[in-house]
């Protein structure tokens, strides 16, 4: 998968992710009640609205501009750390437009890692995001298609999010809860797994339709 992703393809991925979050936002808020203040689902809904708007028909055809707009408006969601971190992620991806999809995701991650010291194992969104992007890299190096790479990434994100159940929060507000965070998956990592599942669904479903046509 060395080909560049188009604006329309990425727009479909965003739409898929938005559908996924819309279906599952109540569960995200419930997870957040275990170690946070129960508003993560609402924050993610607002985040997806901004993302979709940045890729809405009638907007720019330039992926870089769309991603920059997306990043800036997600930063403005005012939803605490989650929305700021996702805003940084999409802004970082925007700076790498012109490279292939894996390189764009890697640039997003690099931008994020400049802003947070959280790393895999700390029970944060990093526990899903880092494995997902590593899976994209392995798939790309193994010559897999974008579709296969996104499938691997979604599976890796899901496994990473599930594994946060056995972790103790070491970062953000939840770290003050210590052992009380054991047994619940991290809401941030879970959202990331939903995003990647949605990216895959969005990328494939429309392609499937066009194949049938």
């Amino acid at each position: 998968m060395s080909e560049c992703i188009t604006k329309d393809e990425f727009g479909r991925m965003v739409a898929g992710a938005a559908t996924e979050i819309r279906t599952k936002h109540v569960m995200l808020s419930e997870l957040d009640c275990a170690a946070g203040d129960g508003d993560h689902g609402a924050t993610m809904l607002r985040t997806m609205e901004k993302l979709e708007k940045a890729f809405a028909p009638g907007g720019s055809d330039d992926l870089k501009i769309c991603l920059k707009d997306a990043g800036w408006s997600v930063l403005g969601v005012d939803g605490g750390a989650s929305s700021s971190l996702l805003g940084v992620f999409f802004t970082g991806m925007a700076d790498a437009v012109g490279n292939d999809l894996t390189e764009m995701f890697e640039a997003g991650l690099a931008a994020l890692q400049k802003q947070t010291k959280a790393r895999p194992g700390d029970k944060t969104m990093m526990d899903a995001l880092v494995p997902a992007i590593n899976a994209l890299r392995s798939a790309a190096n193994g010559g897999k298609s974008v579709r296969e790479a996104l499938y691997d990434a979604a599976a890796a994100a899901r496994a990473g999010a599930d594994a946060t159940r056995n972790l103790q929060a070491r970062y953000g507000r939840a770290k003050f809860l210590g052992e009380k965070t054991l047994g619940h998956a991290d809401p941030g990592a879970t959202s990331i797994s939903f995003l990647f599942e949605g990216f895959y669904n969005g990328f494939t479903s429309v392609k499937g339709e066009s194949n049938n046509a």
């Binding site: 808020s29 009640c33 203040d37 129960g38 508003d39 609402a42 924050t43 800036w72 997600v74 930063l75 403005g76 969601v77 005012d78 939803g79 605490g80 750390a81 929305s83 700021s84 971190l85 805003g87 940084v88 802003q115 947070t116 970062y171 953000g172 507000r173 939840a174 003050f176 809860l177 210590g178 009380k180």
Partner: protein, 331 residues
């Protein structure tokens, strides 16, 4: 616990509370730009602007301290959630009166993330901003990064705001804020949870007969969960930890703040303060200034924050300087 609050649609809480706050102080407060809380009459040109940010649901913190002698602009976030960088940047642009801006940030993960992003963007724009972080909660451990910013924001806003108002340059305002920050310590205790106004969920669980020392502003767990104690016993335990951590010696001068969390009565706060005063007298420590009341709350959470700060002549002078902030009037 079932939530009983006078609210309308949950998604409109922040906009509606800000509207009501501004309307109730039309001579002093107005909303500018994208729901930023600003002074009705902007500061004179040539003075340093003072800006802060923080989640909503903690009223009168933080926007209640916007006014002459304190803050120029506060950037309120959603309930218990930091505002994003774009609105903070907007506030800093508006608070630039020609001598730079002091950006006061309470140490909480979301606030720090937004602030760091804001600072990067401000530098790119060539804005002259200095950021000071308050982190005085001793329950977080000894590493300053782990210490949260609690009611200590109040003396920092006050002394840095007064310095800015009298025309001191940005570096001096920053140094004063940092000096105040280094010399203060806070400890919080909670006895009863609050509900999140948007979700109706209790933000933590605490058995009926227990209290938790070190509980943060958002129900973050502390370290000392114990059976509920009397006012005197609670004051003794907490003050002892604070005095040790700050290394206060006999003869030194302290400011003490007792801040109610929302559902703890003034009756209780005065009872606690009385014991604090007795202990300080017995130790030969001078209580030079004190405030008892609600400066930052967490809905109907019961509990309080006890803050002590070592004062010097200049800090006392700036603490005493006039302010017309709606929730901190000094004449």
């Amino acid at each position: 616990m079932k939530m009983k609050k006078f609210i309308n649609k949950p998604e409109n809480i922040v906009a509606e509370l800000l509207e009501g706050f501004a309307l109730s102080h039309p001579d002093r407060i107005r909303l500018v730009g994208n729901n930023l809380v600003a002074r009705a009459l902007p500061k004179a040109k040539g003075k340093v602007g003072v800006v802060t940010l923080g989640g909503s649901g903690h009223e009168p913190g933080l926007s209640g301290f916007v006014g002459e002698g304190m803050l120029d602009i506060s950037v309120p976030g959603e309930i218990f959630a930091a505002p994003g960088a774009p609105r903070c940047l907007e506030a800093i642009r508006l608070a630039e009166y020609g001598s730079g801006v002091l950006f006061i940030v309470l140490n909480h993960a979301g606030d720090v993330l937004s602030s760091n992003l804001t600072m990067e963007m401000a530098k790119r724009e060539g804005l002259n901003v200095k950021m000071t972080l308050t982190h005085e909660d001793i329950s977080g451990g000894t590493n300053p990064e782990d210490r949260r910013g609690l009611v200590g924001f109040l003396p920092v806003y006050k002394v840095a705001g007064a310095a800015a108002e009298e025309g001191q340059p940005l570096n001096a305002c920053f140094e004063i804020a940092e000096r105040m920050g280094r010399n203060m310590r806070t400890l919080a205790v909670a006895v009863q949870t609050a509900t999140h106004p948007s979700t109706g969920q209790a933000i933590f669980d605490l058995p009926d007969d227990e209290m938790e020392i070190g509980m943060g502003q958002h129900g973050e767990a502390g370290t000392g969960r114990m059976k509920l104690k009397t006012a005197d016993e609670t004051a003794e335990i907490m003050l002892d930890m604070l005095l040790k951590d700050l290394g206060v010696k006999a003869g030194e001068e302290l400011l003490v703040i007792v801040n109610g969390a929302g559902a703890t009565t003034l009756m209780e706060l005065f009872t606690l303060f009385r014991r604090v005063d007795q202990i300080l007298k017995a130790k030969g420590i001078k209580l030079v200034r004190a405030k008892v009341g609600e400066f930052i709350t967490t809905q109907e959470q019961a509990g309080f924050q006890l803050m002590i700060a070592r004062m010097d002549k200049e800090l006392i002078r700036l603490w005493d300087a006039p302010s017309n902030a709606p929730y901190f009037v000094v004449r």
